[in-house]
């Protein structure tokens, strides 16, 4: 280390110390713990206790299935919705644009517990406004918290409501980076607005859309709040239990840290794999 760099490292030391203690060490330690049988005292090294169990555990497959279902349905719907919202927000015809921008972004800053409580009230089977609306058009009410499919739909609706605006704002920034004169040139080329959207906006927005998809994949793989707070800890009967929730249950309810660590690494591995796949499929051909 050069002596002139010493002062710089000294100033960085407090942060580095915290980073190593609370970030780097837990990351490494959890990998080590994932190879320990933590249900015996003292903990013992075991490959099969956690990683072996993982591949035969119906609860894991249930959580994986639920997580992937949410991923496959919610992420595309939300990104499509966010793209449409961004295009509308970018329209010069829209008045009071900052107000809409704030309104779409607001769900992100609302407290999770408050928003979960409101959703529970709105979707309450007996006195929720959603069932009131459904019955008012002659349909039968839905047991949002007792039916696994309905509970899954509720989780998807809640996440979409919370994050679509956030993604729309990111996409809006991307849209605003496309110069107006490209659209003017297309207008002179007699290219319709729809054709402009398909052939100019979407291809130019592709890197931003990929970024949003990666963020959403990572978010969904770690999904915890909505199934925990809205659908009663992954209920009904594990119908909305996600990998994040399974990790929590194993780690902090059953205190089986080894298995929880193995699940955590599986979540991280899947998130990386899906994100890489997305980047490869959506990447620019040079």
């Amino acid at each position: 280390m050069l002596s002139r760099n010493r002062a710089a490292y000294a100033f960085l030391a407090p942060y580095l110390l915290i980073f190593v203690t609370f970030w780097l060490w837990p990351i490494i330690n959890s990998l080590l713990i994932s190879f320990q049988n933590t249900r015996v005292n003292p903990w013992r090294f075991s490959l099969s206790a956690n990683w072996g169990r993982l591949f035969g555990d119906p609860a894991f497959y249930n959580a994986l299935y639920n997580t992937l279902i949410i991923l496959v349905i919610q992420v595309p719907v939300m990104i499509a919705l966010a793209t449409v919202m961004a295009v509308l927000l970018n329209s010069p015809l829209l008045k009071a644009r900052p107000l809409y921008r704030f309104a779409f972004f607001a769900p992100v800053v609302v407290g999770e517990v408050a928003y979960a409580a409101v959703f529970r009230l709105m979707f309450s089977a007996d006195f929720g406004i959603i069932n009131k609306l459904i019955t008012s058009v002659g349909l039968s009410p839905v047991s949002w918290f007792d039916n696994a499919n309905a509970a899954m739909a509720l989780v998807i609706i809640a996440i979409t409501w919370r994050w679509a605006g956030y993604n729309a704002i990111i996409l809006l920034a991307g849209l605003q980076s496309i110069p107006d004169d490209v659209y003017e040139a297309a207008t002179l080329d007699r290219v319709s607005k729809f054709q402009q959207f398909v052939h100019i906006t979407l291809p130019l927005l592709k890197p931003i859309i990929s970024f949003c998809v990666v963020l959403s994949v990572i978010g969904t793989m770690q999904l915890f709040t909505e199934p925990f707070l809205i659908t009663n800890r992954g209920g009904p009967g594990g119908g909305t239990e996600t990998l994040g929730l399974l990790l929590y249950r194993q780690g902090f309810t059953s205190l089986n840290f080894g298995y929880a660590s193995a699940i955590a690494y599986t979540i991280a591995g899947l998130a990386v794999a899906i994100s890489l796949l997305n980047l490869m499929l959506g990447g620019e051909k040079k």
Binding site: P179, V182, A185, A186, T187, L188, I200, P203
Partner: protein, 360 residues
């Protein structure tokens, strides 16, 4: 090809009027240049002809048809933008063909038009590249190619060379001029560079603050400017302006004396009425000074800086606080002279009143 006619065209943004009743006729096949300083409304005028800006009042006709409410794509025009406005994710070939493909043009005809444009602009070897892989000049060619494939009645150029370096600008200027000769299409070209205007145009339209100041052939504007603004804008280096006063009225005109040196006097034949004592401005181009003793009066100026360009020199001098630029034959070997005497031929002088209007 088409004739373009603007009648009392007005453009306002809210309460702010940027084009004030423009009247203009552009003949079929003519190369017209809109020139003026930044913010004079030249690009707005072009965009109104393109249909990219609505007009607030008046009428625009292209090929004898009023196009006020016609969509930009139906006006028979093609436009080359200052920033090129190429589709960044498409190859050069697709940039050229995209518009035609979207309009259901036959593949064979699209390919023919693209090949023709590529040949005209010599961009055949660039066809599979993307805009990011092209230099500024190459991008500009592709932008022009995209306009050519549309086979428009009118080409519109919005400051197309302003992003290029000086050498490339000269080269592209010549190429655009050749293209005009080759295609014979009506072209309207916007620039703030008077050299581009002078070299390219059949007709120059000088604009200032949303008003058309003068319309005419380049040399007509140079030889016979309508006012002090046009006189100052056309020509490089710009015309010198010296303060003067009318000291005597004569039967056919007036005698004018320089404010800075009242002994320097010129007799002007004038048809306009002007009162004795009126303040006026004398204009003379740097290249129109004569050797001492060969003009109608001599002028001695204090030399500040001399720029030697090889074939010629520009002497920047001052005359009682007023700056004067004088073009001299190559003069670097004449040493550091502090004063320079030049002759002023009255036939080369322009006279302007206090509001800048030409006095004749």
């Amino acid at each position: 090809m088409a004739k373009i006619k603007l009648e009392n065209v007005v453009k306002s943004f809210g309460a702010y009027q940027v084009v004030h009743g423009a009247n203009l006729e552009i003949e079929d096949g003519e190369f017209t240049v809109f020139v003026g300083p930044s913010g004079c409304g030249k690009s707005t005028l072009l965009r109104m002809i393109a249909g990219l800006e609505d007009i607030s009042a008046g009428t625009i006709s292209i090929g004898g048809k009023v196009v006020n409410d016609t969509e930009p794509s139906d006006r028979g025009i093609a436009m080359v933008f200052q920033s090129y406005a190429l589709y960044p994710h498409m190859t050069v070939r697709r940039n050229l063909s995209f518009g035609l493909e979207m309009n259901g043009n036959s593949k064979a005809d699209t390919a023919r038009r693209v090949a023709l444009a590529a040949n005209i602009l010599q961009i055949n070897e660039l066809m599979d590249r993307r805009p990011a892989q092209l230099s500024g000049g190459q991008r500009q060619r592709v932008a022009i190619g995209r306009a050519i494939v549309r086979e428009p009645q009118v080409f519109l150029f919005d400051e197309p060379l302003s992003n290029l370096d000086a050498e490339l600008r000269v080269q592209m200027r010549v190429e655009i001029s050749k293209l005009h000769k080759q295609l014979g299409t009506t072209m309207i070209y916007v620039t703030h560079d008077q050299t581009e205007a002078m070299t390219l145009a059949d007709k120059i339209v000088v604009l200032r603050a949303g008003h058309i100041e003068q319309v005419g052939a380049p040399l007509d504007l140079y030889d016979d400017p309508a006012n002090q603004f046009v006189a100052g804008f056309v020509g490089s280096p710009k015309m010198n302006f010296l303060k003067a006063d009318v000291v005597e009225k004569t039967p056919d005109g007036a005698v004018v004396a320089l404010s800075s040196d009242r002994k320097v006097r010129f007799a002007f034949p004038l048809s306009t009425e002007i009162s004795e004592g009126a303040s006026v401005t004398l204009g003379i181009r740097p290249e129109h000074f004569a050797p001492p003793g060969e003009g109608d009066a001599d002028l001695t100026v204090a030399v500040e800086v001399a720029e030697h360009l090889g074939n010629t020199s520009y002497v920047h001098a001052s005359l009682a606080g007023e700056t004067v630029v004088i073009e001299q034959p190559e003069s670097r070997h004449r040493g550091d002279r502090r004063h320079l005497t030049v002759g002023v031929p009255v036939g080369r002088l322009f006279l302007f009143d206090q509001t800048g209007n030409r006095l004749r």
